[in-house]
Each structure stands twice: as C-alpha cells, then as structure tokens.
C-alpha cells in the first residue's frame, strides 16, 4: 500500500494506475543449489509486493505500459537471502486484430535493483523481453516469452547473464478455475553450491569431485553450513503446473509446483512449491 501512496501523484497525470498486490509463501527444497549429497538445504520464503502500471495509447490496438514494482522477501531460516527489490518496466503491446482470439505481441525492457541481507548477493539487473500471446478459445490461452538479461538479480538460484525462453498454457474451464502448465529453458550463468570445510589451507569442498569444476568460486556464509559456490555456465530446464481459483473478480489464489533441472558439469535439481494470492484494484 505504501507503493500505491507514493505513486498516486504520478498516476493522476496518466491513464491509471492499474494496481496489483501479491503475497506468497514459497518452499524451495534446494536453496543451496547443491547436487545430491553435497549439502542440499531447503528454505521457506514469505514475500509481498505491489505493482502499479500506467497505460498509454500507442495508437490502434497498441498499448504502452509503464510500471513500477516493489517486492519484499523474507527467507527462513537463512536471513542472508532476505531481500527487497524495486524496478521499472516499459512494455509495448500490440494486438494484431480485434476480438478475444486475436494474437498479441509484446516487447519491452525492465530492470531491478535487489538488495540482499547478504550484501554479496545484491545486484542490479537489466533485461529485454519479447513475447506472443494467443487465446485459442475462451478457455485456452498460450503465452510465449523470451528474455535476455545481463544479470539474474531477483533469483537467489542464478547469477550472471542468461537467456530464457518460456511458455505458459492456461486452461480456464470456467470463470473460477485456472489450470496452468509451464515449461522453460534457460541458458547462462548458474551457481552450484558445495558444502565445505575449513582446512589449514582455507575453505575446501567436502566432495572431491568439485575440484573438477573450473569456474570461479567463493566461500558463502549465508547458510547454516559453510558452502563453496561455483559459478558455471549451464542450461536449466523447468516445468511446472499450477491450480488457481479466482476469489471474486479481482483476486486469485495460486498453488503451483515447478521443477528446475540444471544440467552441465554440476547438475542439480530444485523443486519449488508456491502458494500465492494476487489482487488487483
């Protein structure tokens, strides 16, 4: 709500604001990005955020959307992952025809400043994105989106530059229920964690196989155990499903599961269960 108050004067000079708030509870079973046997630790995260968007007419069937988001996440039991994020977004959206089944294309840029309680994780991200949205029937809609960024600031899982392609298929059997399946592919920098111990010569991974990794590494004190994080380039496949009942016209609750499978020299798997609520004003 503080976000809304701050943005109200801007909104008075634009079309909007279109405002939405979200709150979520997330269980990530591998917050350390560790391979099996190398120190997998799970973590709960509680989050809340708000987005205010302004809509400008860019001409026939074209919208220009500008928005500002602010989010807060508190991670238990690893306070180093607590973070706040703010970021603007500029998006151009064009519907190629009229009617609910007309495809829409969109593209834009966004950015985020993320400050973690663990200062080494704080960073800024800038990204470009583009996508395509198609409603096949009143019940079925596909959204495909590509994204490239210099840094994955929002995710504690990844860091460094990356490109991502994702698809979302929504099925709404009626006005209340939505079932979603998602799939994604990401190529770029990742961070793999290895449980470590302190030897006379310094921090070393418990798993001797980690020595085969050639990427840069550093000691991480974020977790309840010491870790060495290796930065490697890898591909990640993700796939998930969610169920989302609407609670009235402007609110929905979503329970979703997503599995991330990172390949490469140090493969690891992360499962995420997310319960969230979204409300738009």
């Amino acid at each position: 709500m503080a976000t809304l108050t701050l943005l109200a004067p801007l909104g008075a000079r634009a079309d909007g604001p279109y405002v939405s708030d979200t709150a979520c509870l997330v269980w990530l079973d591998n917050a350390t990005n560790a391979s099996s046997g190398d120190g997998i630790l799970g973590a709960f995260t509680v989050g809340a955020g708000g987005t205010a968007s302004w809509i400008h007419s860019g001409g026939f069937s074209t919208l220009v959307l500008t928005s500002l988001s602010a989010d807060l996440e508190v991670c238990t039991p690893f306070s180093g992952l607590d973070n706040v994020a703010v970021g603007p977004r500029l998006e151009v959206r064009h519907k190629l025809d009229v009617g609910p089944y007309a495809p829409a294309v969109f593209a834009g840029i966004d950015g985020q400043l993320v400050g973690f309680d663990d200062p080494e994780r704080s960073k800024a991200e800038g990204a470009v994105f583009a996508g395509y949205s198609q409603r096949f029937t009143d019940a079925l809609q596909l959204v495909v989106e590509g994204r490239a960024a210099g840094c994955d600031a929002r995710e504690t899982v990844f860091t460094g530059s990356y490109a991502r392609l994702g698809a979302t298929l929504n099925w709404d059997p009626n006005e209340t229920w939505r079932f979603t399946v998602t799939g994604g592919w990401r190529n770029g920098d990742t961070v793999a964690g290895y449980e470590a111990y302190k030897s006379p010569s310094g921090w070393e991974p418990i798993d001797p196989g980690a020595y085969e990794l050639t990427g840069p590494w550093r000691h991480v004190a974020t977790f309840s155990k010491p870790f060495l994080d290796y930065r490697v380039s890898a591909q990640t496949w993700s796939y998930g499903a969610a169920i989302s009942p609407a609670v009235g016209r402007n609110t929905s609750v979503t329970l979703g599961f997503t599995r991330f499978e990172t390949l490469g020299p140090d493969p690891y798997i992360s499962d995420e269960v997310r319960l969230s609520i979204a409300h738009k004003y």
Partner: protein, 214 residues
C-alpha cells in the same frame, strides 16, 4: 357540446385500449428459474409496422472494466454511444455480421455514436479486456421488451392482430417462437420456456505475479 366532446374522448380512449394490448412474457429456464436479459419481441404477420429510432443515442456505459448493460435491445436506425467511465482506456469493437465497428482506445465519451442499421444480434467486446462482453439486439419491429431479474417482459402497444412471438438471449440454445393473436380484448400472458447454454465468460481474475493485459 362539452358532453359530446367528453363522450367522444372516452370512446377514443376505449378504442385505443383495445387497439394496444400488453403481452406479458414470462421466461423460465429448464429448471423453472426466471431468465433475465432475454429480449421478447413480436413480429407482425399482417403488415410491417414502422420503427421509430430514438432521437437521442442510447448509452452503453463501461464501468469497473465491464459493460454496465449486458443486453440492450434497440430498433434499426438507433445510434449508440459507449461512455467509458473507467480510469483505464477501452477499445470497444464488434465483429458481428449485423454490425462491424471498433472505437480505438479512448477514455471518457466516445468520439462518435455508432449507427445500428441492420437487424440481428451484435456482440460487443473490449480489445484490451477480453472478459468484457455485452450484446446489442437490433430489431426491425417496434414491439419488444427485455426481461428483468424476475424473467418478465411486458410488450406494450400491440395493435390487434396476428404476430410471431420470439425470444432471444445471448445463451439461447434453440430458437424460441410461437404464433400470437392479440385479440380485441387486449392483454395476455405468455409463459415461455427457454434452454440456455452454460454461462461462459473469459476469466478476469489476475495471475499471481503475472502481468496483466495478456
């Protein structure tokens, strides 16, 4: 003289009452529940009565990102305006055969009224908010009425004669019509059963963390 005039007025009034009956149409669905937003209309089988569109445009207001009137019956030749009372822009359109038009993104009053010059159902939408839907039903008969939440519509001003009574609803599964005779004695009640398809609306609730206007 005054008595004569009064008698003549009384006779004329009585004649008009006989010549203009009211047909009450009571609509019910398969479960016996009243059907709101159905258009009941009578098509004259003996002659073609003229329709007189209103001199001022009919308004279909958009508010809370919905059309405020779900079904609007009008006669051929009626102009309709689409005031947008939201704080976001709308892009009203129709791709229906009876009327194709679009009013690109606007807020406040629409720039021009739309002339509905052919009979038939017209589905309205917003090209930004896909869940917004409403209907204009364009009629070539002056004898029509829309049912309220009680499922009742009173068609008034019907001269004596033969008619085809029809009922239209956006979710009507099968055509409903019957012959109707308006007698000299005037008013009548018609109970009409209609079969409706399920109410299918595009969901408008937001996604958690997702962008809007997809």
């Amino acid at each position: 003289m005054n008595r004569l005039l009064a008698a003549a007025l009384l006779a004329a009034t009585a004649l008009c009452a006989h010549a203009a009956g009211i047909v009450r149409v009571v609509t019910k669905d398969a479960s016996g529940n009243p059907v709101a937003d159905a258009v009941a209309y009578a098509v004259a089988l003996d002659g073609t009565p003229q329709v007189h569109p209103p001199s001022k445009p009919v308004a279909i207001v958009q508010k809370d990102q919905e059309f405020q009137t779900y079904v609007t019956p009008v006669v051929v030749g009626t102009r309709v305006v689409f005031p947008n009372k939201d704080n976001v822009q709308h892009h009203v359109y129709s791709v229906s055969p009876a009327k194709k038009f679009e009013i690109p993104l606007y807020i406040g009053e629409s720039s021009a009224s739309i002339l509905f010059d052919r009979p038939g159902p017209v589905t309205l939408g917003c090209n930004i908010h896909d869940w917004m839907v409403a209907y204009v039903f364009v009629l070539s008969t002056p004898y029509f009425a829309k049912t309220g939440t009680d499922g009742v519509a009173d068609i008034s001003g019907l001269p004596q004669g033969r008619y085809r009574l029809e009922v239209w609803h956006p979710r009507l599964a099968a055509k409903v019509e019957r012959e109707l005779v308006v007698a000299e004695s005037g008013d009548s009640t018609q109970v009409v059963s209609v079969t409706l398809r399920p109410d299918r609306r595009i969901r408008r609730a937001p996604d958690a963390g997702g962008a809007d206007y997809k």
